[in-house]
Amino acid sequence: MLLSFKWLSEFVELPSGLSAKDIADQLTMGGLEVENCEENLQLEDKILEVKITPNRPDALSHIGIARELAALLQTRFYAPHSTIKELGGPINDVAQVSVHAKNACLRYACRVIDGVQVKESSEDVRLRLSALGIRPINNIVDVTNLILLERGQPLHAFDLMTLQKDRHRVAINVRQAQAGEKIITLDGKERKLTPEDLVIADGEFPIALAGIIGGKDSEVTEQTTSVLLESAYFDPSTIRKMARRHGLSTEASYRFERGTDPNMVMSALDRAADLIAQLSGGRVRREAIDIYPKPVAPLEIYVRKQRIAEVSGLLEADLDEAKIRSRFLLLGIETVGRRGDALIFRVPTFRPDLTREIDLIEEAMRLIGLDKIPSRLSFSRRMLAVDHAGSDKYVDKARQSLVASGFFEAINFSFGSKHDFNLFKSKDSADFIQVNNPLGEELSLMRQSLLPGLLKNVVFNMRKGAQGVHLFEIGNVFLGQNPHGKVPNIELLQGKADQDAWAIEQSRLSGVSYGTLGVQSFDTKLKAGDFYDLKGALEALLAQLKISSGCISDQVHFIHPKEPPVFLHPGVCAEIWVKPKKSKVEILLGVIGEIHPDIQAAFGLDKPVYAFELNMDQLALLSKEDEQAKPLSKFPEITRDLALLLDEEITAGQLQMEILNDKAIKPFINDLRIFDVYKGPKIEKGKKSIAVSLTLRALDRTLTDDEVAGAMQPMIENLQKNLKALVR
């Protein structure tokens, strides 16, 4: 809202010595934020731009702001008066009004001004309107806008002749539109109307969209000689819905939908009619039409002084009742009585935001000044030593681990395009949740995986010349509708606060790895990362979260899936299963692999990308905080290396399992490390060699060579029996 400093000072006594800047600061600290204060040289005025919150329709005018200033500065407010000179015949000779839509139109008033001469307004008026953001039209419409800016009451002027046509008397009807009716509005658009629209009709046709915009046919033009001037109160919610439906927001609708003052309708009408007569040489007809069957009475609100203290934190004894009452009065809020501890206030109808005790308490605190309210830290000011972050520690740890492995954290939008997402979608997954009003097709579907976003980041960085891109992201995916969440159901919240969430949301941790690893130095060559580099980073993460127990993990299994995910290379992918201790079920934690070459091609990637995606909710359940430390052996360890010749299909995992579960060697194994895998001309076709290094020890004694040999031998025999493994 733009305001003229000069105009404001007509309605409020401003203490001398206060500059426009001081006034602006007062308003800002009073809750009416002045965003700008600019000099207008032509008008020798200052124009203030004030941000008005939607609860304060009364402040959308000069008198509203002036009243506010009077209360903030504790000076006088000069309420404007309306006088009117009536000269013509009675209005009833030319117009009559009926209101059918009584709920949507609480009050409808009008006057007629005859003998007007429509022309351009004076330069003064035109400059003032322009400075306040309104385009000057002619001396009639400009007056309606001046009054709008002065008092906040929207008005509309019709050309009476166009309504009369061949009739003697115009019959105005305020009613719902009929299905199929149309109107061409002042902006030149033809609008189809529905029964939810409120219209002003002339007996047959709609002549205005009530409270929003007039019709083209009844526009005031230079040919106009008589004007029917409308002033009304429309139901805010009706206007708001209409304005939204027609995609139209006008100065009038902006005010009506926030709530105007039904008791200002007549005074604003008289003031405007009088001004029109003065500026256009017309005569105001006798009497006004004013349909106001159920006058709106001011509310009376009880306010307990003790309650002001309870909300604000001020001491009850420090509250100056007389001062609050006198400042309320400057806002038009009268004290009308007292009952017990409570004062009874009468709130003017221009303040629809004040309906409850708390609203008046807020008003009192605002006038006292929020800076006067003491500051108190009810809980220890000293920082608590206890770390409350427990519930979320695993997220921090996971993030920390990946950062330590050289990954950069990315944050992507949660919506994306059908084209990208479909590449990752498996047949049996739910349909994507769709945004009904997206900012564009490419931002229209809710993601089911973090990988499409991360891959786009890889492409972005690759095009900027990055040789290696290693990224991870933590965020939610949206896996379809929650059957328990069709409608809000607060009964379900007792156990868990999001049981009735509309969608199935899952927290994910995903990573991608492209190109070279490490940082180039003067004497080393960079190597491109592969599956095992990414797997290593992931294993480090699982170890940090205590999900895997380190090198000889018997809980985490990487298994080649029977049905590989569509977005991974079918030969280079694994599911990550975890079998928690004391649990019989294995839990699927996520997948890892090479992005499918088709997808790599679709994204325009020139090199393979390796990726993983983990279910963060499972990670939360599986991660452990405080693991018991294992005792260290006081006795020396013995290392035995073993190269085994195996059929090519036997996996390292199978071999490892076989050794770890071997009865003879199990009690002594401290560590198992695979240090070489060989396939090639030195061994027969269809075979491979795997070399393992076993670290053996006993906790209570030094192992002897004989003991070790005695355990190794049966193990080797078992490997031969079960895996057809031969020692090379």
């Binding site: 919610s237 830290l377 330590a404 990315a410 809710m446 972005f460 965020g475 607060i490 868990k496 999001d498």
Partner: protein, 349 residues
């Protein structure tokens, strides 16, 4: 050696003198460990000269034996000492040699690959850490939200003009991408039913808005405290400490009355500009203050919708935009940098 040659004690003495001088000469000139070792074997080895002489001692009468024995032992100690010193001298010389070379210390070091947390993560970690230390527990809620939790229960009925403050994405009738983290307040109050409640919620929120300072997706952190007799003073005290700990001990806050449908009274919270300390600069547009938070006392209607009696409990809530804080702190002018994930940008944090 023949026996009769050695019988004479004078000869033995002479030999010992000779041995000492010889060893001394050889060791002085020795330039390698091998040469010193050769001397050791020659004089002190099992078959070495001094050992041989010592073996002969039995042949002498007691008196001479005593004297010769003493001389022989002295000679052995003397040579042993010389040998040790020679080894030391050679080792020192060898070490000296290694000191002569010099590397180019200006060549760059071999760096391990360093990852980086996202600046928004760093910012929210800082904020959450302060809140958690103030006793706020972290809670989460869904991002796709029922209109009821996102608006209705927060005192924003469907045709309320306040809805215009937040342009909303819809995925279904009455289902929105949450425009604020406040629905988590409602969910928590409805599920806990007990006071005190002191929670912080952090997460993504969505608004249909896109330009240099607005992103359709951004992050919000919100605090809620509900108990008996919580006052605006408590809100002020909490926010004062919060701003001091998140920004700087020197930071001051200023509260301006404002309007949010879910709080009454409501306030915009400004913080003294951390660049000019309130004097006025470009960052704060000359005002000395920067708008940083929205806050207020929980509106009675919100309590009613959340199953609490506003006459019996009271509380405050506040919200802060993570992007806004990060932009201020790091001097970032374009919000889109946060979602491009350009390595050159991320590597700076």
């Amino acid at each position: 050696m023949r026996d009769d040659d050695l019988i004479k004690p004078s000869r033995v003495k002479k030999d010992l003198d000779k041995l000492r001088t010889e060893a001394e000469c050889l060791l002085k000139e020795a330039v390698s460990r091998d040469e010193v070792e050769a001397v050791r074997i020659q004089s002190l080895g099992k078959k070495g000269n001094i050992s041989q002489i010592l073996k002969l001692m039995g042949q002498f009468p007691a008196e001479e034996r005593k004297e010769l024995g003493k001389l022989a032992n002295e000679a052995r100690d003397f040579v042993e000492d010389l040998i040790a010193k020679s080894f030391e001298r050679l080792e020192k010389k060898a070490r000296q040699k290694t000191l002569s070379g010099q590397i180019d210390v200006t060549l760059p070091g071999r760096k391990p690959q360093q990852g980086h947390k996202h600046p928004l993560t760093l910012t929210s970690e800082k904020i959450l850490n302060v809140l958690q230390n103030l006793g706020f527990d972290l809670v989460q809620g869904p991002e796709i939200e029922h209109d009821f939790y996102n608006f209705e229960a927060l005192n924003v009925p469907s045709d309320h003009p306040a809805r215009e403050m937040q342009d909303t994405f819809y995925v279904d009738k009455d289902v929105v991408l949450r425009t604020q983290t406040s629905p988590v307040q409602i969910r928590t109050m409805l599920s806990l039913k007990e006071i005190p409640i002191r929670i912080a919620s952090m997460g993504r929120v969505y608004r249909r808005d896109q330009d240099v300072t607005h992103s359709p997706i951004f992050h919000q952190i919100e605090g809620l405290f509900v108990d008996k007799s919580v006052t605006f003073s408590d809100l002020k005290g909490t926010l004062t400490t919060f701003v001091e700990k998140v920004f700087s001990e020197k930071a001051r806050i200023r509260m301006r009355p404002s309007y949010f449908p879910f709080t009454e009274p409501s306030a915009e919270v400004d913080m003294s500009c951390f660049q000019c300390d309130g004097a006025g600069c470009r960052l704060c547009k000359g005002t000395g203050f920067i708008e940083i938070l929205g806050a207020g006392m929980v509106d009675p209607e919100v309590f009613k919708a959340s199953g609490f009696d506003p006459e019996k409990v009271s509380g405050f809530a506040f919200g802060i935009g993570v992007e806004r804080v990060a932009m201020l702190k790091y001097g970032i002018s374009d919000i889109r940098h946060f979602y491009e994930n350009d390595l050159r940008f991320l590597a700076q944090f």
